[in-house]
Amino acid sequence: MENKAIICKNLTKQFGSFRAVDQITFDVEQGEIFGFLGANGAGKTTAMRMLCGLSFPTSGKATVAGFDVYKQQEKIKASIGYMSQKFSLYENLTVFENIEFYGGVYGLSRSEIRKRGEEMVSTLGLTNEAKKLVGGLPTGWKQKLAFSVAIFHRPKIVFLDEPTGGVDPVTRRQFWELIYEAAANGITVFVTTHYMDEAEYCKRISVMVDGKVEALDTPANLKKEFNTHSMDDVFYQLARRAQRTADQS
């Protein structure tokens, strides 16, 4: 129990007659990088939102960082970080103002924010840009900055919703180095992605099809199970089973 970051049991979300998430069950270990895959409209985002406390489950059970998604959402919110597929920093604020704002929202003290902020900025190599508006930074840097801000308050778990959409391969590679570093520091990473090379970086992955978790294992085991050498192929075989059309979300 203590070493599970996320426990999901028969978690379901129903919108009218449409069952976006259909009885999903899985665990995520602490410090694990967990890949959450699925075609568009498979229900990934909905499932993730339930785990983040943005949406109430219709039925089923789930705990995040040991807290119940129905009753202890405030505690969940304080112990997670979140980065969405949209770029989520304020473009007309400087790098440091963004850090100050998010640090402030999570209730960190000013001296703490300054200390960690300077550390973070120098790790990212952005010391000279700290007082520049975020809007003027290259996309790759923005993305790395957004991730660093998402884990700035040192959450137990960080949820990444397609964090590398529209980013070039080199930056993606650097981005994943940051993810590994975070995981090495004990942060559990829960990530959705459409890039199968990224799926390979995950310790374990699950694949959602039509609201259900159809496969869950390490990338190596999945490839063995589906008798293929590429994750692309595994994903393709699973996604073909989908009945409903994409882009429901």
Partner: protein
């Protein structure tokens, strides 16, 4: 509290870095004041008038009949004494009073000279001047018919009707309206847009995932615009006093208190709009078309409400700006105290509470 302060600081950064917002915030009041102060005016019809007829003779009756048939005037219940007239003015039911002396016909025929008294509401000088002109014209016309000009001598009587109001201090009348309009723009439109912008950018999602209380998001969004509205209010008042020579007759504290009440009403409206919309364009459109236009047209400062079809008069009753306009006019221009505007204040407060309650209840703490 620390979280809230961090949030409010961020909001001020947004405002001061967005040139367009700044322009709207501080350019608009100046433009409006200049525009309304020097360029625009309005025509007056259906003026409420009361008549104190001490004469009750043929001649006075005939003049009264002429006034009754004129489309400019609506004759209200006659009054019995001088004091009643003032009460009616304070009620706001009349804009003008006409007094006949007791021996009207007698003085006219024997002395060949008689005086009438016209009393007008000077807090609305445009209307007052127009009213005097209309009445003078009606009386002159009557006089001409009573005593036709002697042969071979021409009498030319110009009937003046003022179409474009020049050189009169009409500012008195529209300042309260401009203030209401500015609050509507700053508090309603800018607030709703700034919240919806966060939805569009995706930052709202991040905020909702954070431990920051959703209600606090709304408060943090509203506070900066409350402050900015008050700053704006001070700018408008200063401009009015020093540029347009408006004299503030009533209590400044009361004016401020009523204004803050109105700002809160507008902010609640802005929050409500932002809850219901997902794009900045929609929010802007609703605020502008749905809120600003009615404020401009149906509050009574540009076009007199008395002149409108009943349906618009009914609509005007649900506009918060209507009540604010009445209050500010009464306090600022007539110098009346709270006892004269408590009813409007109560309605406004009721609206504020109502809107705020719906806005808070509607705020989606969850995205689905």
């Amino acid at each position: 509290m620390k979280q809230l302060l961090a949030f409010i600081r961020k909001e001020f950064y947004h405002v001061f870095r967005d040139k367009r917002t700044l322009l709207i915030l501080f350019g608009l009041p100046v433009v409006q004041i200049v525009l309304f102060g020097f360029a625009l005016s309005s025509e007056v019809r259906n003026i409420g008038i009361t008549i104190l007829d001490n004469a009750h003779d043929n001649n006075s009756e005939q003049i009264i009949n002429r006034i009754k048939t004129s489309s400019y005037f609506v004759v209200k219940d006659p009054v019995l004494n001088y004091r009643d007239i003032e009460e009616k003015f304070k009620e706001g039911s009349i804009k003008c009073a006409l007094l006949f002396p007791s021996d009207f016909a007698g003085q006219m025929s024997h002395l060949g000279k008689v005086q009438l008294q016209i009393i007008t509401d000077g807090s609305d000088p445009n209307t007052a001047t127009i009213v005097v002109n209309y009445l003078t014209a009606i009386i002159a016309n009557y006089q001409q018919q009573m005593k036709p000009a002697p042969q071979l001598s021409y009498q030319i009587i110009p009937q003046v009707r003022q179409l474009y109001n020049e050189e009169q201090n009409g500012s008195l009348n529209f300042i309260p309206g401009v203030i209401a309009l500015i609050f509507m723009i700053v508090s309603t439109a800018l607030t709703s847009v700034s919240i919806v912008r966060e939805k569009e950018l995706g930052t709202m999602e991040i905020l909702l995932v954070s431990p920051f209380k959703p209600i606090m998001v709304l408060i943090a969004k509203a506070v900066p615009y409350l402050v900015l509205s008050i700053v704006n209010f001070i700018i408008i008042l200063t401009l009015s006093v020093y540029l347009l020579d408006v004299e503030i007759k009533g209590s400044l504290a009361l004016i401020f208190a009523e204004s803050i009440l109105f700002i809160i009403t507008c902010l609640s409206l802005g929050l409500l709009i932002s809850n219901r919309t997902n794009s900045q364009q929609t929010a802007m459109l609703i605020s502008m078309m749905g809120m600003m236009l009615p404020t401009l047209l149906l509050t009574g400062f540009m076009f007199p409400l008395e002149n409108m079809p009943w349906i618009f008069q009914v609509i005007s009753h649900v506009l918060p700006s209507r009540y604010y306009y009445i209050i500010i006019k009464a306090v600022m221009l007539k110098g009346l105290g709270f006892s004269y505007v408590w009813k409007e204040t109560l309605i406004l407060a009721g609206m504020a509470i109502f809107l705020l309650t719906i806005a808070l209840k509607n705020f989606k703490t969850r995205l689905s």
